[in-house]
Subunit: 337 residues, 2 copies
Amino acid sequence: MLDERKRSILRAIIENYVQTAEPVGSRTIARKHNLGVSSATIRNEMADLEETGYLQQPHVSAGRIPSDKGYRFYVDMLMEPHPFSRGEYIQIQKDIYSAYNGLEKAIYEAARLVSLLTQSIAVVVAPSTDDLVFKHLHLVTLDKNSVLATLVLQAGIVKNKLIRTEEELVSEEVQNISTALSRRLKGTTYRDLGPTIFAEVTRDFGEIGRILVELVLQGLMEEKEEQVYSSGTVNIFNQPEFRDPERAKSLLETLEEKDHLLRLLNAASKTSGVQVVIGHENEHNAMQECSLVTCTYYVGGDVVGILGAIGPTRMQYSRVVSAVGLVAASLSTLLTE
Amino acid sequence: MLDERKRSILRAIIENYVQTAEPVGSRTIARKHNLGVSSATIRNEMADLEETGYLQQPHVSAGRIPSDKGYRFYVDMLMEPHPFSRGEYIQIQKDIYSAYNGLEKAIYEAARLVSLLTQSIAVVVAPSTDDLVFKHLHLVTLDKNSVLATLVLQAGIVKNKLIRTEEELVSEEVQNISTALSRRLKGTTYRDLGPTIFAEVTRDFGEIGRILVELVLQGLMEEKEEQVYSSGTVNIFNQPEFRDPERAKSLLETLEEKDHLLRLLNAASKTSGVQVVIGHENEHNAMQECSLVTCTYYVGGDVVGILGAIGPTRMQYSRVVSAVGLVAASLSTLLTE
DNA sequence: TTTAGCACTCATCAAGGAGGAGTGCTAACA
DNA sequence: TGTTAGCACTCCTCCTTGATGAGTGCTAAA
């Protein structure tokens, strides 16, 4: 599609532009990268690259900047993975492991690490618990009208739900229900919760038991919603493309709209592995000058969440892709153990 | 200290400036506020107010803007509480109550409400659990080497901690320890945790019991750290004083530094009730052009956390003070119930 | 004590011009 | 046929300049 020289020039322009944020001229390329041809030749090639859509020109007497198509070609065909040093690699592992004090802290630390390593905004979707296996359920009577339900899932994820009833509860019956429910739910997942289980468990209990079980199941369903966190949002101020407060504002607004963000991330990360969504490939308006690098993470064999980085389209793709992949892998390992 | 006319002029200037963000000239005051004197008289008074430090002048041919001292006088002596309508009041109550699905959601909702009502950045310090009374402790054996400790505090606050041991655990012994610990800890607080309780509880148990209790107590201590959340950070982009990205950046950086922020809030809110810290009264550099309005909130009779709003010194003090006070009160009521 | 009048200051904005980076095109060359 | 030097041309950026106007401080009169 593109011959070797055009590729070299495209790569040189992108890497230069990513570094300087200034349009790149033919002279710069001829001087800095030893391509063995003069600036005039490069000029001709650049005109071709613009015609085929890989480059664009802000105005007639400026250099060229990469288009989304140019970045796409770079990401797919040209870039080489950023080599993190052994030391950095170990540091990442260590940071994630040492922060393990519950699931939330671990994923938050993962996001912090990504934002630190990439100097961009990191986002992380907390595990969708849909497919995680229930390990224990425990009901504790707090007083006559309230019960605390504690649910333990795979990977040490714990959910609590305080339940209040109109009816007075008898501690022994709550205990029996707790045992029965726990036994029945062990090994199932959120997906399995439904009328069948409800009927099965309540068979041996009275009216109050039925009400309680219903409240517990309902309460647990409420707790399953996906959460999304972001970290390092201030990093966008280091990017010249966000010098304009209006842009910064609209991006930050998008990030505060958790629902939007969640949809965005889910759309980006349909398949597993590291995905890159560049500029206008993004559907959301405020993101069309940004790129999104995401990677799924796992518990056991199941995809449970998404880790991502958001920056201007002019980002260090190779570094960001490597960093996101690496942290996601470390997180998966940690959660699986 | 200031005679009636000077007060009126100061109030007029502040209210005008808060609205327009433009320096206020003598003509504007003479025209808009019916003080019954000419602009020349007001000019003289303004010169006096500047000399005594209540006003300042960006440059010689501009109008006046309030100094921190001017705002302080306004907050202490001049402003009247913002009257929220009955409807707004009820809406606030409803929003907070409907979001009650665990403590974290409630305080997060409180912050969201404050940022919404004041168009500024809201911050909230999650309950310091130091003084909250333990109501239940429950240990559940997950497998031979791990136990889940669930601690229920006053106000329905729940803490979980997963504990792993080297030694194999016997389910019955864990149960006994759970019961003993729960009985002993009921009614105490984090402050009381210490060697005495440790010795008392472990008296009747063997080596494994001692290790387990130690791990549980340690684990719970780790969970007691204060958290701080912020909401509505994008609102600063609506303020002309943050048109300059450098300023916006340094403020957002301060907010991401949780430790700084916590110190800031604790310093601001030494006494109970609504407190206002204006501009340079703030020690932190990035905050010297901002004001901070805070209010403590309660569980029962005890102060447990702080709710606050951060905006430019040019903020609607009366509205912000009322909003923060109102939401904090609603939150206290909710948590106390 | 208040006010009208006036000279003065200085931020802001638009217009104009110099400088410079980078291009496209042409013609010569290997 | 591909490459290169040269050159006219474009247009952004920055600086200067001058006009405008808001707002002040001071003075003198009421």
